[in-house]
Amino acid sequence: MTSHDQLTTITHASPQARPRRISYAEVRARIGEPEDMIKRKVRDRLDRHARRFIAHSPFLAMATSDATGLPDSSPRGDYPGFVKVLDERTLAIPDRPGNQLADSFRNLAENDGIGLMFVVPGMREVLRVNGRAYPTDEPDVLARMRTEGKEAELAIVVELTEIFFHCGRALIRSRLWDPASQALAGELPSIGEIAADQFGLDADPRALTDMLEDDYRHLY
């Protein structure tokens, strides 16, 4: 079909051929102990810097896991400050229409642990928040999430236990905010091509992409 077929056949390594597994002690021995200052930067509540960061963050990655501990991470995004601060230890994340898979909600029902990573475009450091979470339909919370005349149907309340800034090396190395990096997207097939291929659809990939674009117009 397309050149993508020839790309890679992912070989399943035999157990013997898997990369070597090393212990945590070995890891520690390689990377050393964290410095005192770094240990201390973990807080158990928001300060004004964290609050300001959240107020300017339009995007976060949200990790949850099921009862067995199998994790999942999902993107959340909206206008900056879409995550509301209810008090210095409580946040609320709106749930907007998505794919209705509700993986995160199912996970939270089994295991209320949650990990968030907030980013602010242009800022190399990220803000990480860990805690416990549950879904809510509290009207006063949802009212704060009204956008373009539409209310969020649900929200996730996060009671945080740890909050800290994470250094910017990963974002610096990844050149994430360098506009030139966006050329990478041009190297990928369109989402229509991917879908046609993955689902074995005999449809015009361009039509699929257009359909999706059309769907993307209804964000709220």
Partner: protein, 304 residues
């Protein structure tokens, strides 16, 4: 929409939970305005919010607005109160007036809380024009009421301050009973107050301004066609689409602010067809606000 660049020169508290913002134009004089006008303020968090101008219309170097930190803020007033620092550059729209002061020999102004902002310059203008004017200014307590002291100092007994914590709600029925036939009533405040005013005063004499969309029920959305007369194009508005989004998607650049029918930035000119007005501004004949309004007929013809 024509935007004007300003710098936030001063942000100062004017009551409990309310700040006033003094915005100085950076590129010469700002666009003129009349009492009742509001501007859109484009915030750094991508939100656009509408605030009534409450400064002096004769001063075209600065605009003044006042903002209450709303307990259920969606990110506008909260941002202004917590994160907006003096010295920040802010783009503001040219003023629009959905709440103009019409000439009258006598006025009754009714303001609730931060709803005092459009009323403030109206009262000044009415007094300067030699009309007789009374203000009934309602708030929870004096401490929560912006500009209460300066109003009393300037206008004395023309201003009646009404703290609901101590006196309950003002008696609009009594005000209405005493209302002169040629008196115009201007009311701005929270929804229950607007409703009370609507219940008490004759519609022809009452002018109200909404900050927020009122709760309304409409028949489910139907798709419809918009014929754009000037460009000879037809745009389909799906049941899920707003007319504003559909037109913008088709390449028309319609400005927008609130996207919920209260600010008036998305006004378009209607040529033919029967619109279903869903806004809270009260579209004048031949106009509609396409962020919320739709069609009752199968199609509309607009001047685009």
């Amino acid at each position: 929409m024509a935007m004007q660049r300003t710098i936030l020169e001063k942000a100062e508290p004017v009551a409990e939970g309310a700040v006033s913002l003094l915005l100085r134009g950076t590129d010469g004089p700002l666009a003129p305005w009349e009492p009742g006008a509001h501007i859109d303020l484009a915030l750094p968090n991508w939100l656009t919010r509408q605030y009534s101008l409450c400064g002096d219309p004769a001063d075209l170097d600065t605009y003044r607005v006042a903002v209450r930190h709303d307990r259920l803020s969606r990110g506008g007033s909260e941002y202004i109160h917590l994160f907006l620092d003096e010295g920040h550059t802010l783009d503001v729209s040219v003023p629009r007036n959905n709440f103009p002061l019409l000439p009258a020999p006598e006025y009754l102004f009714l303001a609730g809380g931060i709803g005092i902002t459009p009323i403030l310059p109206m009262l000044t203008a009415a007094v300067e024009a030699g009309s007789s004017a009374t203000l009934v200014y309602t708030g929870r307590s004096l401490a929560t009421m912006p500009f209460a002291d300066e109003l009393r100092a300037a206008y004395g007994s023309r201003v009646r301050i009404h703290a609901t914590e101590r006196h309950g709600r003002p008696d609009f029925a009594a005000e209405a009973a005493a209302l002169g036939a040629r008196t115009l009533v201007y009311c701005c405040g929270p929804t229950p107050m607007l409703e009370a005013a609507e219940a008490a005063f004759p519609t022809q004499q009452l002018h109200i301004e909404h900050f927020r969309p009122t709760a309304k029920k409409f028949a489910p959305n139907e798709p419809f066609d918009v014929h754009c007369a000037r460009s000879q194009r037809t745009v389909r508005v799906g049941a899920e689409d707003s007319m504003l989004d559909a037109l913008n998607h088709a390449g028309f650049r319609i400005p927008s602010g609130c996207r919920e029918g209260v600010c008036g930035s998305c006004e378009i000119t209607l040529v033919d067809g029967e619109p279903e007005h869903r806004d809270d501004i009260g579209a004048p004949p031949g106009r509609m606000y396409c962020c919320v309004s739709r069609a009752l007929s199968s199609g509309l013809t607009v001047d685009l």
